[in-house]
């Protein structure tokens, strides 16, 4: 562990050049003033720069490693997108500044709305949600609002497949729904009989991602649509996997009524060590009035050019409302806009093609190298699942052990233990920005660990060995909670 910035702190040390001179404050009631300065670290600029530069070097990242984290779409984040979203005028633009001073910015956002409408095949898009999960919230809240607007108060359940991402059931709960799970059949599709049995007048909707988190395309999607719509429910599309089909198939065409899109996945905005993302929602015609605000409208101006303005409560009285104080994650939206403009019409389909090609190539190569596929009879979408159940049974080496050992080989581990229904699973998503050489190197690393698991299982079980720390004790972390540094106990 690098020392904490607090442990580098020395009383009275300041980055002298940074702060203004300060002033005496004597007009505020003393009872409201803090007695002692806030307990922040005291450090010089060099200390801070060195500390965080060195900390950063302890991270794996796309810019330094292959990062085939399934469902997370760790593809290259174009540097131009960052540079352009950080143009000084955009950075200085206040969210409540008059619209006349933000026409350039609003034009970008409006065009992004249009682009997202087009690729999703929906009738309207709101950019407001700040991540996928908030997009899900907005989507399910719109489903709820729609049922209610029709006087249908009986619908109390949201159906989710057992392969679903955790945000789906969590979102349903936040929207006041009970969650009903439907299982997956042996080929990786939703079990249609069980789905038929599950729907009814209590069904508000179904949340689905297609291709699913099992890395396969839900082949009977039109049957699913018919079943759910037939029962009076709506169809929600979790767009986390949109990159697998962008430019190839539109969720709108599959019959979905609502969709969220993770721009930090399909549109390649950076994950930033945990965020920010953006989760715009798109809807079919009938849900348009409920879209969250603000949205951007383009109106013909007096000079013939478009004038852009925010749409708020007043314009959209049926909206499910506001999800953030201002306008979602504008800077992320700008990055996505730049990315979309650089891809262009043809590039969109290339994303899906190369992502799918890379995944299928890798799947075949890994199968050839002796790995068990969860769905060997299926085409991979942009990702696929390897199950290490047999290896675990034979050697005791778990998917977790295997993942940790991959870190030692200089690649980030795939997603482990998700989806929950596949035992000892590795969900592998190479993304379209990685080259064949990188994929081949990954196959070699996977093979090497497989060999080690068979010949020196303890080496793998005690991995990683070359990281800044060895395997961390998660149980202790939760039991002896230490989430905030305290001066008294730790200096």
């Amino acid at each position: 562990m690098n020392r904490l910035i607090f442990e580098r702190s020395r009383t009275g040390r300041v980055s002298a050049q940074l702060a203004p001179a300060g002033a005496v404050v004597d007009d505020i009631p003393p009872a409201l003033l803090r007695a002692a300065p806030p307990p922040l670290p005291e450090a010089a600029e060099l200390d801070v720069v060195r500390h965080y530069t060195r900390l950063s070097q302890k991270n794996f990242s796309i810019d330094t490693q292959f990062y085939p984290l399934g469902s997370c779409t760790m593809k290259y984040n174009p540097r131009a997108a960052n540079a352009l979203a950080m143009l000084p005028e955009f950075l200085a633009h206040h969210p409540l500044a008059p619209e006349a001073t933000g026409q350039g910015l609003l034009a970008c956002l409006h065009e992004l709305q249009e682009i997202l409408c087009e690729v999703s095949g929906m009738a309207g898009v709101s950019l407001a949600p700040m991540a996928g999960a908030q997009g899900e919230f907005a989507g399910v809240a719109m489903i709820r609002a729609w049922h209610r607007s029709r006087g249908d108060h009986a619908r109390s359940e949201i159906i989710v497949p057992d392969a679903a991402h955790g945000t789906n059931p969590a979102t349903a709960t936040m929207c006041g729904y009970a969650v009903r799970e439907v299982p997956t059949d042996r080929s990786g599709n939703v079990d249609l009989d069980r789905l038929r049995a599950a729907v009814g007048p209590q069904t508000a909707g179904l949340m689905l991602t297609n291709p699913s988190t099992l890395g396969v395309f839900e082949q009977r999607i039109l049957d699913i649509r018919d079943i759910v719509h037939g029962a009076g429910g709506l169809l929600y599309y979790d767009g986390a996997n949109l990159n697998a089909i962008v430019g190839k198939v539109k969720p709108g065409a599959m019959g979905f009524d609502v969709i969220h899109m993770n721009l930090h996945k399909t549109f390649s905005t950076p994950h930033g060590g945990g965020g920010p993302g953006a989760g715009p929602v798109g809807v079919a015609e009938r849900l348009l009035p409920f879209l969250p605000i603000p949205m951007v409208a383009c109106e013909a101006g007096s000079d013939g050019r478009g004038t852009y303005r925010w749409l708020t409560e007043a314009d959209r009285p049926q909206s499910i409302g506001r999800l953030s104080a201002f306008m979602g994650n504008v800077g992320v939206l700008l990055r996505a806009y730049v990315y979309a403009r650089m891809l262009g019409r043809k590039g969109m389909a290339r994303v899906a093609e190369f992502a799918t090609l890379n995944a299928n190539y890798l799947m075949v190569e890994l199968a050839r190298a002796g790995f068990d596929l969860a769905y060997p009879a299926r085409r991979a979408s942009h990702e696929f699942i390897v199950t290490l159940k047999r290896l675990k049974d034979e050697t005791g080496v778990s998917a977790m052990d295997f993942a940790k050992r991959l870190l030692d080989k200089g690649v980030h581990a795939p997603t482990t233990y998700f989806p929950l229904l596949v035992p000892e699973c590795l969900l592998i998503e190479p993304t379209e920005t990685e080259s064949k050489e990188t994929l081949d190197a990954f196959v070699a690393a996977m093979k090497a660990v497989l060999e080690e698991a068979r010949t020196q299982p303890d080496l793998v079980k005690s991995a990683p060995h070359t990281m800044p720390v060895r395997r961390l004790d998660d149980v202790r972390a939760a039991r002896e909670l230490d989430v905030v540094w305290k001066k008294s106990t730790r200096t």
């Binding site: 803090r34 965080y52 991270n59 990242s61 969210p95 690729v119 945990g274 506001r322 019409r345 230490d482």
Partner: protein, 442 residues
């Protein structure tokens, strides 16, 4: 690669997709631009928006951000990493989050913090849901009417499906603050206190907190983190301190950027941590006993607890938190204090310049760095006239409430020089005398 993948062509990769779905046209997506072209386009749009001398605050604040902050934040290792699920390969992000939690908990005077929520408004909504979980028997929340209306709107949107009841508390029309007496505290789960309130005014947080606690009501503090360089921390409010503190993290090193990405912070008393939503980094040890960091209490989260999770939040605002952490480390206690003091002093200096114009604060409570002034004329016209002189003179409060239609919410931070304040006063004087608009017409 196609060969190796066992397909004859790219199309075969999509052969499991029903054919009738594959008719895709993307007419509304423009043709590709290369990087140079898209750069030119965006530069032109940015130039079109221009730069202004802005005195708008109202929940998002212009502060000076040291150059080192974003040069570090955009290092690929921070910028392009995922959520630190593989802890051993993410010690950089994890240690930073732990340091962030320590700083923000220290700043708010509370015991525990999460690693961020989406923004200040949604953080308040999450705090309300958390308070309801903690209180168990009541779902009634008291929201002051001088809370930022967007915060109230977000709280409504995010909590309404769960049967939460939001009760509005009116404010004293002279002071602009909430009066501690006669609050409908009985049977409430939590009282929300905004300090400063949406008018920039300072509430009597000690009395409010103590009253609430006397009725078994939890206190949720909504605070501006920069103001905490000067004002006392929520953890010090009243005799026991607020129970949960939330707020908008943007003023801590995050650019205005048209409204986001910002981040919401949340801190709480130690006893409440298991009801906190969002990610939390914790310190632990590795196999050798070496200290290290990992995400902890994940059993609260959606990827483990699914429909029973404390929230559905997954991706948060990590990179903005990275900026805030570095920003706070650079400023340090003295720096944050001096920024807060300068903001306040600059606000007073502006008010002094407005006195000769007969323009005075609308409310009598002390302010931090934002104040409501009455310009005695319709705000939109006044603001438009000031804009013609390059000044964004404040936020038109008529947008929030008709009775404030001649009121501006004006914010002054440390970024303003005395010359800027002079310029503001001149622009306002001209706007009020109508000179400026005449000049434009000529």
């Amino acid at each position: 690669m196609l060969d190796a993948a066992g397909v004859g062509g790219i199309d075969a990769l999509f052969d499991e997709i029903p054919a009738q779905l594959k008719q895709v046209r993307l007419e509304r997506v423009p043709e590709a631009l290369n990087e140079m072209q898209v750069t030119r386009l965006l530069q032109e749009r940015a130039a079109q928006d221009g730069r202004w001398s802005s005195f708008i605050g109202a929940g998002a604040y212009e502060h000076y951000i040291p150059a080192a902050v974003w040069q570090l934040v955009t290092r690929g290792e921070f910028y392009s990493a995922y959520t630190p699920y593989q802890a051993e390969a993410s010690q950089g992000t994890l240690q930073l989050l732990y340091e962030y939690q320590s700083m923000i908990a220290g700043l708010t005077g509370l015991d525990a913090a999460n690693a961020s929520l989406y923004d200040g408004a949604s953080a308040l909504a999450e705090a309300i849901l958390m308070a309801v979980r903690l209180h168990k028997s009541s779902r009634r929340i008291l929201l002051p009417a001088n809370l930022h209306p967007h915060y109230a709107a977000v709280a409504r949107a995010l909590t309404s499906s769960q049967g939460v009841e939001l009760i509005e508390l009116s404010y004293d029309s002279r002071r602009g603050t909430i009066t501690p007496d006669a609050l409908p505290l009985d049977g409430a789960a939590a009282l929300v206190i905004a300090q400063p309130n949406a008018f920039g005014g300072l509430e009597d947080v000690h009395a409010l907190t103590d009253r609430a606690h006397a009725h078994g009501v939890l206190v949720i503090a909504v605070v501006n983190p920069v103001s905490l360089g000067l004002l006392n921390a929520p953890g010090e409010w009243g005799t026991q301190g607020a129970d949960i503190a939330v707020g908008e993290g943007q003023p801590l090193g995050v650019p205005l950027s048209g409204g986001g990405p910002y981040f919401g912070f949340m801190t709480c008393k130690a006893a409440h941590i298991r009801q906190m939503p969002g990610r939390i980094a914790g310190r632990t040890v590795d196999l050798d006993g070496t200290p290290g960091f990992t995400l902890t209490l994940q059993a609260r989260e959606q990827h483990i607890r699914r429909s029973k999770a404390t929230s559905n939040i997954c991706t948060n605002q990590g990179l903005a938190v990275t900026a805030a952490t570095i920003h706070m480390a650079l400023l340090g206690p003295a720096g944050l204090q001096r920024v807060a003091q300068t903001c306040h002093a600059n606000l007073l200096a502006l008010l002094e310049r407005l006195q000769p114009l007969g323009v005075r604060p609308r409310f009598s409570a002390s302010c931090f760095h934002e104040v409501v002034i009455d310009v005695g004329a319709p705000a939109p016209a006044v603001l438009a006239a000031m804009r013609a002189q390059g000044v964004l003179g404040g936020f038109d409060l008529g947008q929030w409430s008709p009775e404030l239609s001649s009121s501006l919410l004006v914010c002054v931070t440390e970024t303003k020089t005395m010359a800027d304040l002079d310029h503001y006063a001149q622009a306002l004087a001209a706007a009020l005398s109508g000179r400026s608009s005449q000049e434009r017409a000529s």
